[in-house]
């Protein structure tokens, strides 16, 4: 025998052989790539093996909901102990997979709508949560140790050759398919329709194994639409603080906004309050952002130069197609989103992240995990973290780095601005500021070594409340940091526990800045400052191009 020759069909292509066996088993249920909706459950029974890693595509926007229903309808005697590796736990079917014993373990990022049921599953021992990730981190693991055996994805349309068009909600699809298809996994797509020709090809046909035309279009949640009518005066006041107290002095041009009414208020103050301060062209020009309808007035006022999107937003399609200088669009005008690239943009190319949270402790650690709810964090830990690998300079990055430098001999380096914007009390008079995060207790019940912190305190540069801004970069030690946070915590127990002299000293040094220190009178904070005060105003600002979902139409 020749010692150097590899044996044909040796141990080095087991995954390819396994893939061929799966495809042979599935062949009776497909004609080429095409699978009838009624055969989907049978196809999955034939393809899947116990213990498989499965990615069921879904994010906080689009959902492969038909395939999720089919998966949840499998016989747990045949298919069980699946390991889900997916962005979100959002649908009732995601929970049903565990309740029925089809799946046993999960690695995920976000579980907003099912946070309570997920916590109940953990308590009952019906699910093993291996880890909660930020989106980019989970995608990264698809290419290392969490590559799916089978990916169930959603697209807008397929052509006869099997190419896929995702429409504006491309989102996670390229990252999932890339990892699965090139490691001998199986890719199954649900599409809304078959077309003779596609506006563009988002996923080439030879990366896709099976295509099912879903009986109804996949679900999309308009998650980023905030009705300006619901923005409060307190949110207007906080937005004024952010614009005048952070965006202006640092000259923040490249940024990401989290979801919520607080940041929507900032977007709606750009063409009014920020413009009056002479900040047009100086702040908020380049964005990594979903197509927030609240950004329309700023775009129309010429504030914005570019927006790259994680996903899309229902009703924004025609507006984006008509603004190709601003949005990333295909030749036909359709917007192309990509969550992996937008998260990379948020990490490395943005100078600032601002978002909200549910709890902040005395060192600025924050978490959205509260008792009885396992929510995950989505993209916030990625966006809301200093990118230690960043090297390119910008004015905002250098200024933040200089403020954070404690020692004149230390190597100078820039840093990201990470801002938490919260009211001191949430709904129901729950204090946002706490001595101890609920995350500590959750860590125990979830079997985690560390509490599930969304944004670590040492990554946070500023906390903004209706009481003012705390600049944590300028705090010299833990004691100062604690008093800076207590100093803007208002009438919460944490706020009432402040050392008044220490807080006043921090204010003298500009570490704490009250509205009046920035020349902002509280009575100026009225809804009249909002560039749009209703969804109807947003439609008007868009020249009739924005087409809001019916639930946001009340005229």
């Amino acid at each position: 025998m020749n010692a150097g020759a590899a044996v044909p069909g040796s141990m080095w292509d087991q995954r390819r052989r396994q893939r061929q066996r799966r495809l042979q088993r599935a062949a009776p249920y497909a004609r080429g790539r095409a699978v009838a909706a009624a055969d989907t459950v049978a196809l999955l029974h034939a393809l899947l093996e116990p213990g498989d890693r499965v990615c069921l595509e879904g994010n906080n926007q689009k959902q492969a909901d038909f395939l999720a229903q089919a998966l949840a309808a499998l016989d747990p005697a045949r298919v069980h102990d699946l390991h889900l590796v997916q962005s979100v736990v959002a649908l009732p079917e995601h929970i049903a997979l565990f309740e029925r014993g089809i799946a046993a373990a999960i690695d995920f990022s976000f579980s907003g709508p099912q946070a309570g049921r997920l916590a109940a599953l953990v308590k009952d021992g019906r699910i093993r949560i291996n880890a909660i990730h930020t989106y980019l981190e989970l995608f990264a693991r698809y290419f290392v140790d969490l590559t799916p055996h089978v990916a169930l994805i959603a697209a807008e349309a397929a052509d006869a050759a099997g190419n896929l068009y995702t429409g504006p909600n491309t989102e996670d699809t390229p990252a999932i398919v890339e990892a699965t298809a090139f490691r001998n996994g199986i890719v199954i797509a649900q599409v809304n329709e078959c077309r003779d020709s596609l506006p563009r090809v988002d996923i080439p046909a030879d990366w896709v194994d099976f295509i099912v035309v879903s009986p109804r279009p996949h679900a999309i949640e308009p998650l980023f639409t905030r009705d300006p009518a619901l923005i409060s005066e307190i949110q207007v006041l906080m937005a004024m603080l952010v614009i005048k107290g952070i965006y202006a002095p640092y000259g923040v041009r490249r940024l990401n906004h989290g979801i919520g009414f607080d940041t929507a208020a900032i977007e709606l103050l750009l063409p009014t309050y920020a413009a009056a301060l002479g900040l047009k062209g100086k702040i908020c020009t380049h964005w990594a952002l979903n197509p927030h309808p609240a950004l329309i007035p700023a775009i129309e006022a010429g504030f914005v130069e570019s927006v790259h999107c994680f996903g899309s937003e229902l009703g924004m399609e025609r507006y984006m197609a008509a603004r190709p200088d601003i949005f990333f669009t295909a030749a036909d005008g359709s917007m192309r989103s990509n969550r992996a690239f937008a998260q990379a943009a948020g990490l490395y190319a943005c100078d600032l992240f601002i978002g909200s949270t549910l709890q902040i402790d005395l060192q600025g650690n924050s978490s959205t995990a509260t008792k009885g709810r396992i929510t995950g964090f989505g993209g916030a830990p990625n966006m809301g973290a200093d990118a230690r690998g960043r090297r390119h300079e910008s004015a905002a990055w250098l200024m933040a780095g200089e403020q954070a430098r404690r020692d004149a001999d230390a190597m100078p380096r820039g840093r990201k601005l990470v801002v938490q914007m919260v009211e001191t009390f949430r709904e129901g008079m729950e204090p946002t500021f706490v001595e101890r995060l609920d995350a500590w207790d959750l860590a125990g019940s979830m079997g985690l070594a560390n509490p599930p912190v969304m944004i670590y305190g040492d990554d946070v540069s500023h906390i903004v409340t209706e009481e003012g801004i705390a600049n944590l970069l300028a705090c010299r030690d833990r004691a100062e940091r604690e008093q800076a946070i207590r100093g803007i915590a208002g009438y919460t127990p944490v706020g009432l526990g402040r050392d008044r002299r220490a807080v006043e000293a921090l204010r003298q040094r500009g570490v704490i800045r009250r509205p009046e220190d920035l020349g902002i009178a509280r009575r100026q904070a009225t809804r009249d400052l909002l560039a749009a005060r209703s969804v109807k105003d947003l439609v008007h600002a868009s020249g009739g191009l924005y087409d809001p979902p019916s639930r946001f139409r009340n005229w």
Binding site: E233, I234, Y491, R523, A525
Partner: protein
């Protein structure tokens, strides 16, 4: 529901005018009614009708700060909160005093 009656000392408010209403009762909002004390007493008397129980210490802290920063002596203030946060309550109280002092209102 919880009703609180709180007496505060505050700098005298010299302006006299007809009762004045600020804000609306809606979720997360609050309504503030201001009038001169019928008994011509010097302090500020506040009646709070709140939908949330057990927050008397926070109400005391919010109102004490208000009485220190504004001229509310000689006034009667009635607050109907609808689950409003201290931030909204403080803002409404400031607006109420500003409106009270505004000659054109």
């Amino acid at each position: 529901m919880e009703d609180l009656a709180i007496a505060l000392s505050s700098a005298p408010q010299l302006r006299r005018r007809a009762p004045l209403l600020v804000g609306v009762v809606a979720s997360g909002n609050c309504e503030v009614l201001v009038e001169a004390r019928p008994d011509a007493g010097a302090g500020c008397q506040v009646a709070v009708h709140t939908s949330a129980m057990g927050f008397a210490p926070i109400w005391h802290a919010v109102l004490t700060d208000f009485a220190a920063r504004r001229r509310a002596g000689g006034l009667c203030i009635e607050i109907n909160d609808a689950g409003a946060t201290p931030a909204i309550v403080s803002l409404r109280l400031d607006q109420a005093i500003e409106a009270w002092e505004d000659d054109h209102a």
